[in-house]
């Protein structure tokens, strides 16, 4: 039983700090690890988080969460929901576990960096709890799918994914290396907690979770919602950083936000966009991906940015255009390249589904429907070969996703030539990010660069699959074996 009241000791405990005498402060908190803008220490003393938790409270709360959640897992495990689930739903959770599980570990490494190198003691305390959160999330999202590995080998990619050169892995690893691992504590806090967590994770961990509940996957819904309660607490680091940084180096704060919003958008379009608008059985869809993006990012987060004193990113109009189009191109591409996936994607283009898509995206039939018409016919008459890949697509040297277009007269391919290399980009913002810090990116080879350089052998689809770590048992197939095409 504690002897002191919380209000008597908490503020001292959370800001435990001292003036160093044995080593200068700059050596304890070097610029490259801590704060590249070199704010005076006093500036960071003003760092403050609204929702405060002591370690004692943290342990108690987290233990209760885990007890509840593991209880749900045990109870649901008996129903064997996943075994009987719609294969399209299984595709959603397999994709999720692959992208999210070890990514949580990246986030934990980043929080560990903040716990040591954040230039404010109170912030270091919050980051320590954030680090424990992310370790929890990594463990949960490895433990939960592990039950299903014996049922279906594709679930093994919950762990394997980040250890491969699968194309989505290259994209996600580039994102997390850049935003979470490579920068200073200040940069990582803005990129990870202010942008990635506050703006975007709600799309998957609340939006997709609500779809999950409708679909009847209580285990997955509970898991995501439990994870998100931690997120709501540790993501508040970012706003507190922005508040301090804006007073001293506004340009840098804006730059990190602009870069992080774009890079994060790309991966969430792949993670959440395809699942919500194509894999999710029609009867379980709550909102379209665009509707969730409008509510959570374009509306709520943009207001949050402006209220924080930031401007909207300079490419806002391009983001609006992408929200209408980009994930449709990613779905068409990844369904076509389904042998390179660790899940079986639904095509999601039955007549009823296309009606839904056209209602949510008025230009869908004109932009995408015409292409899916050709694919559907091929599938119906048994020409599966024409629906599968015939060559590699060119990927962007920044986001590492296939460069796609949704107009019949696109502008010329964006190319930056430097030191004998050509770097190709899908969009103005991806090119802009490269041009701000080329030394950070120019040594890296995209999948296409590697292929052209002869790294992938043999230089064909089988060689590419082997390079990506995709085994025959895992290589993705259409989730419904083209039943949707034959029904038309």
């Amino acid at each position: 039983m504690p002897e002191l009241k919380r209000e008597d000791w908490f503020d001292l405990g959370r800001r435990l700090d001292w003036t160093p005498r044995y080593a200068p402060r700059e050596k304890l908190f070097p610029d490259f690890a801590s704060d590249g803008s070199n704010l005076p220490a006093e500036a960071w003393e003003k760092w403050d988080e609204p929702y405060k938790v002591s370690f004692r409270e943290y342990v108690d709360t987290q233990r209760q969460k885990d007890e509840g959640l593991y209880g749900v897992k045990t109870a649901v495990g008996r129903t064997r929901y996943v075994e009987g689930a719609d294969p399209r739903w299984r595709g959603i959770i397999k994709e999720h576990y692959g992208v999210a599980s070890v990514a949580e570990y990246f986030a934990g490494l980043s929080e560990a960096k903040l716990a040591r190198f954040a230039p404010s003691a109170a912030w270091r305390s919050v980051a320590t709890l954030g680090m424990l959160d992310e370790i929890r999330h990594g463990q949960l999202q490895l433990f939960f799918p592990h039950s299903y590995v014996k049922l279906d080998e594709q679930f093994d990619w919950a762990h394997k994914m980040y250890h491969t050169n699968e194309w989505g892995t290259i994209a996600a690893r580039s994102l997390f290396s850049d935003l979470f691992l490579a920068g200073t504590a200040v940069d990582a806090a803005i990129a990870e907690t202010f942008v990635f967590e506050t703006a975007f994770t709600n799309l998957q961990f609340l939006g997709m979770a609500s779809d999950a509940l409708k679909a009847g996957d209580v285990e997955f819904s509970s898991l995501l919602q439990s994870i998100q309660t931690d997120e709501a607490r540790h993501s508040q680091q970012g706003a507190a950083v922005i508040e301090v940084l804006l007073r001293h180096d506004r340009d840098h704060a804006q730059y990190i936000v602009d870069k992080s919003v774009w890079r994060t958008w790309k991966v969430f379009a792949l993670l959440t966009g395809m699942g919500m608008d194509y894999y999710m059985p029609l009867e379980h869809r709550v909102h379209s991906f665009k509707e969730f993006m409008e509510e959570l990012v374009l509306d709520q987060f943009s207001t949050y940015m402006l209220d924080s004193g930031l401007d909207l990113p300079w490419y806002w109009d391009q983001l609006l255009d992408e929200v209408d189009n980009f994930h449709h191109s990613m779905h068409l591409g990844s369904w076509t390249y389904r042998p390179t996936l660790w899940w079986d994607p639904a095509a999601g283009v039955s007549p009823e589904e296309r009606q839904w898509l056209a209602a949510k995206y008025p230009k869908w039939e004109q932009t995408w429907g015409r292409k899916w018409d050709v694919i559907t016919e091929n599938a119906r008459v048994g020409r599966e070969d024409l629906t599968l890949p015939s060559t590699l697509p060119v990927t962007c040297n920044m986001c590492h996703l296939p460069i796609t277009v949704w107009t019949d007269h696109p502008a010329p391919l964006r190319v930056v030539r430097a030191d004998g290399r050509a770097y190709r980009f899908c969009s103005d913002p991806c090119q802009w990010i490269f041009e701000q810090e080329p030394e950070k990116y120019e040594g890296h080879l995209s999948l296409i660069d590697r292929f052209v350089a002869g790294v992938i052998q043999p230089p064909d689809l089988n060689g590419a699959l082997a390079y990506m770590g995709i085994t025959p048992e895992v290589a993705g197939k259409d989730a419904l074996d083209y039943a949707w095409a034959r029904a038309q």
């Binding site: 292409k371 050709v374 091929n378 015939s390 019949d408 052209v452």
Partner: protein, 84 residues
């Protein structure tokens, strides 16, 4: 038998950029066919019209070779049906 080289083809009406292996001795008409194979009949309907190739804003001569037209490796070719 020419020298093999990869080029990047954007077929108008398709949504991505394909890596296409050609030979520098291929005629532009052959380059167009090799590029079209990755899009036509797959996501773009076949049409009874000639194919055209544009390179850095210039429409290429279908009878000339890629080498003669100065096509360099890993550069963008825009391929489309005549008449749009």
């Amino acid at each position: 038998m020419g020298t093999p080289m990869p080029v990047i083809a954007q077929f108008r009406g398709d949504f991505l950029y394909s890596l296409v292996l050609i030979e520098d001795s291929d005629t532009i008409a052959e380059v167009a066919e090799k590029s079209a194979a990755h899009s036509v009949g797959r996501r773009v309907r076949r049409r009874a019209r000639p194919l055209r190739v544009e390179y850095h804003g210039r429409v290429l001569d279908p009878g000339k070779s890629a080498a003669e037209e100065g096509v360099a490796p890993m550069e963008e070719l825009v391929v489309y049906y005549e008449g749009g």
